[in-house]
Subunit: 346 residues, 4 copies
């Protein structure tokens, strides 16, 4: 089995056996399509177990859709959405937010992917000026695209600021479980309880096959979401196969176990490379990602053995629910070999 | 096991065991995400086996997306798309085509879902008039939303007319395999060989779990499709789980066997009800659908036992790859019971 | 001076001298831009004189914008708008409504351009079905694109039906003054008083240079219109030059005098050609348009002397505030000449 | 006559008498609508006099439309447009570009409103990566929103860089004539000759009533513009009244005389306030704008006498074709009074 794809992305892993088992078991008999089935109802119950009552949950196919449709539900075309310059929303959704929502992204430079009130404040202005896109949502990513984790206090500050100014707080939680695992807090404690209004709840990067949830903590915000989802090409016919995954994912702490494990592997990788002088670890290792600066000359050599992305100049290595210590040991060995060889060449 | 959902839709069935097996087997090791993996390459080969060389194939999550994104790839916002008034595109995609493509649908009334040149002709006009949306695509559904099947000659006529006037021919093939099975022709013979330019190739209604393909028979038309797909929220990260399904679906005639079987069940259902006087079969049974007019008073009674949709005033009953003769026998028995009871009540 | 353009459109006329005078007089000193000036405030007062208090009025550049932006203000992208198949909205705005509003037009065939409840009813359905664009607005044109005029009773019936079903009534009033003149009723009596919710109020075809008003009879509907207008590229900087026109137009019955005159000229044209055997007058002459069927062989000959449009197979001749009896006499003479010559050729 | 609006914007002025005369003279007889008239043809000739042959010119109502539609003509929805963070496109068009073009703006911080290759370069990347909006256009404003003027060499550098990378260069020339006047160069020399591909050519801020031109220096780029303009609600019916203005504007150096005069007035204002210690002039005075930092406490006091906008923290004072030396003298006197009074209060 090829090892080249192990650290490139947590999307390179397959499906957790428990999730796959749930899919297989859901493949029985006939069920109504488009989300009116019993699996979906049970999956909603699982979300309520974690996030409490009076929420609205909708399943879509992937994280890009969860972000874009969740934001569309709460914005008008003349609004602006404030997000980090490195947010997935801004960088990796091919202008989908602008296209489908039809509104403006205001993008804020950051070093570690985290927004703060100080950075946001200048853009929360222009209310009532017809020339200016009206601010409506702040969107943060937890953990950030750099793997760093907002504390609940940090989130609450942003949420309070948003609400005080008539804005909403959206959270891109593609890897939200990794943040919860790091913070040793429940899913509700780092979202709903600290003021998040709309959450993109992801599972694919943590062992699911496909499927993402849009969670509204205020039911008024979701009143038209069924139409937005269908119009947005995201209404799954055989919905039970998404729902069954979420039931398994949110049962028996599977979400947490996988996230804790992936985090611990990133930590292990971090410990093993932190002493290498050619490597500068650029971000705090708080979830399942390790970001490093390495001299350019090593990058291509290394990518040929272990493919990885370079994001804003930094190499990104991801661990997942099925990365092993041996994978990491071999990877670090390869890194050392590449560094050594290159040094000799010089 | 509940029987209420058997005939409501071919989406109410689960996943064909061969497809599920392929998914399980694809769950090994790490593969690169977003379609650059070996499963996807192999799936493309399977499409080339059926449709020939020099095609471009892209996987998306569902049929709505295949239609909308395939059409977006070949239109500008000032274009019009000509389709049947009962087309899925027009009726059941919640204005998604207008919204995402930003252009006009011209919708033509039909009795059996089929377009003809005579009906289309008046709308292929206004070229060069700046006030008028410029016609660009004719979209047909095969089989139609009423289960009727275009002959290859009928398609070719429309294709020739389209091309002569500078238009393209799009085919919504959500159930294309059922049409091929009915016509006893290969997939290529009823699409590429008769002038179809862009095909939405569906499998979910015929045993797949999710996933649909957009097939371009002219590579020039697809040159920007990767961006359109991503922007359209339809780029699957763990693509191998769509690709593996298509490999199985297009191997060993699975697509054909399932379609033939579903068609034969619809035929069996048709034979069993055609003599019932209260029922008027409204459409030719050429694929896996049976459409009937039944007096309104029976509809609700029957829907409580066997849920089904009423489409343009006609009850729609669908068969699938796992409908059984016993299912149908019991269904017809129930129909007779409902009719009898209702008669007594009168 | 060339006469070829006299009957082609009421847009072919220039500007009424009173309007031009108002423009010249407004060209004094400095005024704040974008509609916060005193001319604009005074123009709003004029609208309130005619339509009553508690209305919201916004000026845009043209009728296409008035229609599209007025409708955008009251719809979501998953809505549908019901209109006549021959409506300007559907035929002559180059898919602008679909593009900018992002929603669906449902287009209904008519002979005289008029919608009725019977025709509309089948499309006011599907509420709550996530697959189906949700009906939200009925849009009628007064007078219709065929020059026919809705009675207040006809409008009220449609309005009542709309409101009972949770829909709104929009009126494209590009030539609304011609309808009022025909009906011998005030502007309010044929709009607000009979249930119209949003009105596109046009003046360009009746003597103005440019500028159109969107009138909301319910202020809740317009709460975001300033942003929609700016985003829609329709916020005029030197607004006073639109406002000054509307002040003059709505003063001293200028709007009415011009409309009555144009109507009377159409009536005069109608009287002069009704006896000509080769001509079939196809629509009731109720405003400033005359529609006729004439054999194809005459059309091109005649168009070379008097340019006109052929709309849905019918020649359309328009009169305006400055068409003269002599213009018409000469036109009819030319018609007779063309007919005679053609006959000799035969 | 109130003086409060003199320096708030060059839009606060009325219409140049020569322009108004041209409008009055165009108000004769009937002409075909929608731009097929002789005035429009003659106006095109005037543009060719200035910009050379083989160009395509289209008139729209205003500058926002010229920018958005010109850019829409050359982009796909998956593209990005690179512009300055303070560009009108980004700040003052209420997300219209994102909404109508459906694509991404990449906004670059600047101090004086000017882009440079160094700033642009990092964003001209990601080609071929399906996740990333593909760079397509660089848009610069001449003069910038801060009144500074690009030299032809600066423009050419950006143009060359753009073209080398497969991008186009768009220029927002809302005040292009002020730049030409400052540089003492012809309109062609600072646009077409230095590599600009699409130009928004404005006149409203320099004496016109309304109307803006989109000029394409490569006819291939404009092949669908008539549909984009109509769909974009920007096709004027009585087009002659825009065209007549442009004929006058581009004749007898009116465009230049007005621009030179407005520039000289800004220079005069600059000279008169440069010595005032409480004022920091923040931008080079190269066109008809003066930007100053003044302590906050003076701003409101002063705005009550002379209304002006504060843009990015800087007070903006604009001169126009009819600002007089006396206007400026009185303005500066008022400034001094306000400063003095405030000082006493302290």
């Amino acid at each position: 089995m090829s090892t080249i794809d192990i650290f490139g992305s947590d999307n390179h892993s397959g499906v957790d056996p428990e999730i796959l088992k749930a899919i297989i078991e859901a493949n029985k008999g006939y069920t109504i399509a488009y989300g009116y089935d019993e699996y979906t109802e049970k999956a909603f119950d699982k979300f309520r177990e974690h996030f409490g009552k009076d929420i609205d949950v909708y399943f879509v196919y992937n994280g890009t859709a969860a972000n874009i449709l969740g934001l569309k539900a709460v914005t008008d075309s003349f609004n602006s959405i404030i997000c980090s310059e490195v947010s997935h929303l801004n960088v990796h959704e091919c202008a989908g937010p602008e296209n489908f929502i039809g509104c403006k992204l205001i993008t804020i430079p950051t070093k570690d992917g985290k927004l703060t009130i100080e950075k946001i404040k200048p853009y929360v202005s222009g209310f009532g000026d017809q020339h200016i896109a009206q601010p409506k949502v702040i969107s943060i990513t937890q953990p950030t695209e750099f793997g760093t984790v907002y504390t609940p206090q940090e989130i609450k500050k942003i949420a309070d600021f948003a609400h005080k100014n008539g804005l909403l707080l959206h959270m891109d939680g593609a890897r939200i479980c990794n943040a919860a695992a790091y913070l040793k807090l429940g899913l509700r404690e780092i979202t709903r309880d600290v003021g998040v209004d709309i959450l993109s709840f992801g599972g694919t990067k943590n062992g699911m096959m496909f499927g993402e949830a849009v969670v509204f903590f205020n039911k008024k915000l979701s009143k038209n979401f069924i139409y937005i989802r269908k119009q947005g090409m995201q209404l799954a016919s055989k919905m039970r196969f998404i729902s069954a995954q979420f039931i398994a994912y949110l049962s028996d702490n599977l979400w947490l176990k996988n996230a804790e494990y992936a985090n611990s592997m990133a930590r292990y990788l971090y410990e093993k490379i932190r002493g290498i002088p050619e490597m500068e670890i650029t971000q705090r290792v708080e979830s399942n990602a390790v970001f490093v600066n390495i001299p350019k000359k090593y990058i291509f050599k290394l990518q040929r053995k272990y493919f990885f992305y370079v994001f804003n100049g930094q190499a990104r290595w991801m661990c997942s629910f099925n990365t092993t210590r041996e994978d990491i040991d071999r990877f670090v060995e390869t890194i050392r070999e590449v560094l050594d060889k290159e040094k000799l060449v010089e």
